[in-house]
Structure formats: C-alpha cells, structure tokens
C-alpha cells in the first residue's frame, strides 16, 4: 500500500472517529435491529427449527448479521456521492491520484473506524445471548477470513451505487435501493434458506449473499471445509470482478462531467 493510500485512509478514519455521535448511532441502529430480530425469531422458532436453524443457531446468525451490517453501512458513501454531485470530482480529475483507488482507501479508513465498536457490540451480544459456538476451530478461522472480504465488497457495491449519481444527480433514492438489496439478498432480513428455490438461486448469484449468509454458513457448519473455501473463492472473484466493472463504468461515466464557470 502506497503512502498516499494510507494518508487517505487515515484522514477518513480520523474524521469518522471525530463524529462520535454518528459512530455510536451506527452501532445503536444495528443493536435495534438485532434486538427486534431476536424477539421475532425466538417467537417463531420456540423449541423447533426453520430452514435448519434452531434458536441457538439463529442467535449466532443474527449476531453475525449485526456485525456484517454494522461494517457494511459504516463507509463514507455520502462523501463519495457528494464529490460527484457538487462537482468536486472535476478537481479530483486534476490530481495525480487514481480516483477509484483514493476513494477505496478513504472507504477502508471509514470502515476501520467502526471496527472497534462493531467488535465490542458483537462481544457484548455473544456474552448476553449465548449463541451457538462455531462448529470447529477451523470454521471459526475461515469465518473470520470470509469476513475480511466484506471490506472490498462493501466498497465496490457502494462505489458502483455512487457512480449512478452521474446519471441520476441524486443519491438518496439510490442509497435506499442499495440498502434494500443488501438487507434482503444478504439474508439479513430473512435467511436465504427459507426462500423459495428460484429466489435462493438468484440470491446466490448476487454478491450481497456474502455479507451475512456466507460467514454464517461457514460458522454454523452448513457448508464443509471445501464448501467454505469455495465460498471464500467466490467472494474473492466478486471483489475483483466488481473492482474491474467499476473501473469500466467510471471511465465511461466520467465523460458526463460538465465543468461550469470560467
């Protein structure tokens, strides 16, 4: 990593840390939805199981969902969008840094600022709710490894969403649509295993599934070691593919920039 990347990451990290209230609320929001999820599923599951999840497994599933969604929603998406919307992007074009790489570095900085609170929140949830433990030590390691891919995947999905600002001139609607796709197809709202077959296939064909279902499946042993490694490989492929896709789209969309003034 070049020093310029590190500099960009540090700036957003510091900025994010400075706004303590926003930071706190990210975790609080996740906490809300975790509590509601626990109440709902405890009521639905009772002593039984649904789609192969019993109560202990579901607790683990929801806590993993809390961790992944806290991380996924912690980046600097509005900062990126505003650069395009208010025309700052024109100045960025004159800088001797790669736009996508610089934004990626910033994004990682923003996410990194949320890591401590996400981990504390998760640890607290584990202590309070006593979820199922990982199926094996190896599964635990692989789960942690699969979680790392959330960083590049979250950036790529957000960057692609932000790029649409070149066309729509607005980000709010795009942000809502992205949040919905992520919440639904990650399995955060309802486990993929409960969906009808065709929807399951669709979900597994999209990158969103790796935000909750993949780490939770590895953790709970719903896939064996080979399956886990396969899923991690798919995550890596998505990370690379989305990065390249973003590059291609950027080079086309940036032509839309109109520079006013004189």
């Amino acid at each position: 990593m070049a020093s310029v990347d590190l500099a960009y990451a540090t700036i957003t990290f510091k900025r994010k840390i400075a706004y303590k209230s926003t930071w706190l609320f990210t975790v609080l929001f996740g906490g809300f939805s975790l509590m509601a999820g626990l109440a709902v599923w405890s009521n639905l599951l009772g002593d039984g199981e649904l789609g192969g999840y019993d109560w202990d497994a579901m607790k683990a599933y929801l806590i993993i969902g809390f961790l992944t969604s806290t991380l996924a929603w912690s980046g600097s998406d509005w900062e990126m969008a505003n650069r395009i919307l208010d025309g700052h992007v024109a100045i960025d074009l004159t800088k001797p840094v790669d736009f996508q790489r610089a934004r990626a570095a910033e994004y990682m900085g923003g996410m990194a600022a949320t890591v401590p609170s996400a981990i504390i929140g998760t640890a607290a949830a584990i202590l309070i709710f006593q979820p199922a433990s990982p199926v094996s030590p190896l599964a635990a390691v692989l789960t942690a490894f699969s979680l790392l891919f959330i960083f590049p995947l979250a950036f790529a999905i957000n960057f692609l969403a932000v790029l649409s600002c070149f066309v729509t001139q607005r980000f709010l609607g795009i942000q809502w649509a992205r949040d919905c796709l992520l919440a639904f197809f990650s399995g955060l709202m309802i486990p993929i295993a409960l969906m009808p077959g065709w929807l399951q296939t669709l979900a597994w064909c999209l990158p969103f599934v790796h935000f909750t279902t993949t780490p939770a499946s590895i953790y709970l042993g719903r896939v064996d070691t080979a399956g886990a490694l396969g899923l991690i490989a798919v995550e890596a492929v998505w990370a690379v593919a989305l990065w390249i896709l973003a590059r291609v789209l950027w080079s086309r969309l940036v032509r839309k920039v109109t520079i006013h003034g004189g």
Binding site: F25, F32, A36, L44, L50, R170, G173, M189
Partner: protein, 268 residues
C-alpha cells in the same frame, strides 16, 4: 374568535400554496420523480416479500395470520408514507438551523412550522403509498374485513398520519437543542418503526410494549388500529387513536415553538 378563523385560513392557504408549488415543480423533473418513486417502492416490495416468504414457512406469528400481518404492514406503510406527502419538509429542520435558513422563515408573515413542513414532498411516497395500499388491500380482502370497515380504516389512517407527522416534528425539533445537520432522532424513529412495528407488539417484552404504546405512542399509529380492524380489540379502543393524535400534535406544536424560542441563529 374571528381572528383565529382568519389565522387558520391564512395558514391553510400558505400550506396549500407552498406544497402546490413543489408538486408543480416535480412535473419539471420527471427522471428524478421516477428514481425516487421506484426507490421508495423497494422497501415495501421487500416487506411484502419478507411476509410472503415467512408465511411460506410458518402459519402464524404470535397468532396473526398472513393476511392480518399484511393489514398491519400495509397500515404502517401507508400511514408513515403519507407524512412524506404532506409533511416531508420537516426533515430539513436541522439543516435549516445550522445554515441559518431559519432566519429567513422567521421574517415571513406565516407560521414557521407550516412553512417548513410544506417545504417539499418526498417523492418516494408515490412508490411507498402504492405498495402500502396493495398490501393493505390484499390483507384486507384476505382477512375478510369487507367494505363496511373501510370508513373506520380511513379514520384510523388519518389518526395514524397525524401521530406519525407529530412524532417526526418532535424528533426533528430536537435539533434546535442538539445542533447537528442530521436529524438523528428522526432517523431513530424511522428505524424503530421499520424494525419493531412491523410485527405484532405482543412478541416483545412487556416494558417495550408499554413504552411503545404509552411512552412513544407508535402503537396507536399501527398496531392498535390493526388490532381494532382485525377484531382483536373492543371497538371502545376507537377513541384511543384520535386522542393520541390530538395529544401528540399539540405536544409537537408546543415543542417546536419552544425550539424556535431557543433558536439563536447561525451567526457569522
């Protein structure tokens, strides 16, 4: 008394003109309209899908069947979405305080609250409302509620819209004291609705139920009406939502006025 009536007519006129101007401006930017309307329908489509998938696996949630749950979800969506139609400007309160835009509103000869509330329309409402009504309609017929219940449903919906708008006003008015561009409390209110209120409140612990019914009367905007409509509560409960609506609206106006008094301009 005559002065009061005149004042109310003036306020209503200001509201109508302000929101009318915005509605006309939407027609000028059709692309923007469609992006927002479609984005607004996303969450509702997802809610609908969630319910349908869930009830593909279970038959009841805390004693509520699929159609009754759709009545609850549809009622919540429609009531909440309607605030985006007639009171969306309130979301700008925090921004206007920080940017000093509030000064400009204060100098105009019209109620500041009305000027802000009618500042713009959340175009997502067109998507949200459509899907909300679809859910409500399917749930309504499926649960066998019939046409005779429609007037009661409409009355409860109006109460619900007033409660939601009043709570939003209070949450946004908090920015008079909190000093921040982002309406954090209003976001929390939205999140609480999305996460907790789409399920029958009975699944939550007793304290949560009490707080959401009498502390922060969100239950009067969705869960209690849905219970009345599905015959779970005695018709006597019909007096609850209008009382909650009047009380929250009065409180909202009072808090907003206190906020304006605490407002000390942005300075330079």
């Amino acid at each position: 008394m005559a002065v009061d009536a005149l004042g109310a007519r003036h306020t209503a006129g200001v509201y109508r003109r302000s929101i009318g101007a915005y509605l006309r401006s939407i027609a000028e930017y059709p692309a923007d309209f469609w992006v927002m309307a479609i984005a607004g329908s996303f969450w509702q489509v997802m809610m609908f899908a969630f319910m349908t998938i869930l009830f593909g696996n279970v038959t009841t949630v805390a004693g509520w069947d699929y159609h009754e749950m759709l009545v609850l979800a549809g009622f919540l969506s429609t009531g909440w979405a309607s605030t985006a139609l007639f009171w969306d400007g309130i979301w700008d309160t925090g921004k206007m305080i920080i940017e000093g835009d509030m000064d400009y509103r204060l100098t105009r000869p019209a109620s500041v609250l009305v000027q802000i509330g009618s500042k713009h329309v959340g175009m997502q409402v067109f998507g949200e409302m459509t899907l909300g009504l679809v859910m409500l309609g399917i749930g309504w017929t499926g649960a066998g509620l019939g046409l005779a219940t429609v007037p009661v449903g409409l009355f409860l919906l109006v109460c619900s819209a007033v409660i939601q708008a009043a709570l939003l006003t209070i949450a946004n008015a908090a920015n008079f004291w909190m000093k921040g561009r982002t309406p954090i409390l209003a976001f929390m209110l939205t999140e609480l609705q999305n996460e907790a209120m789409r399920f029958p409140l009975t699944i939550f612990p007793a304290t949560v139920k009490l707080v959401l019914t009498f502390g922060l009367p969100l239950a009067f905007a969705s869960f209690i009406p849905a219970q009345i409509l599905t015959g779970r509560l005695d018709p006597w409960w019909l007096v609850g939502p209008p009382i909650a609506a009047i009380a929250t609206a009065a409180l909202a106006v009072w808090i907003f006025k206190r906020g304006l008094r605490a407002y000390d301009s942005a300075g330079n």
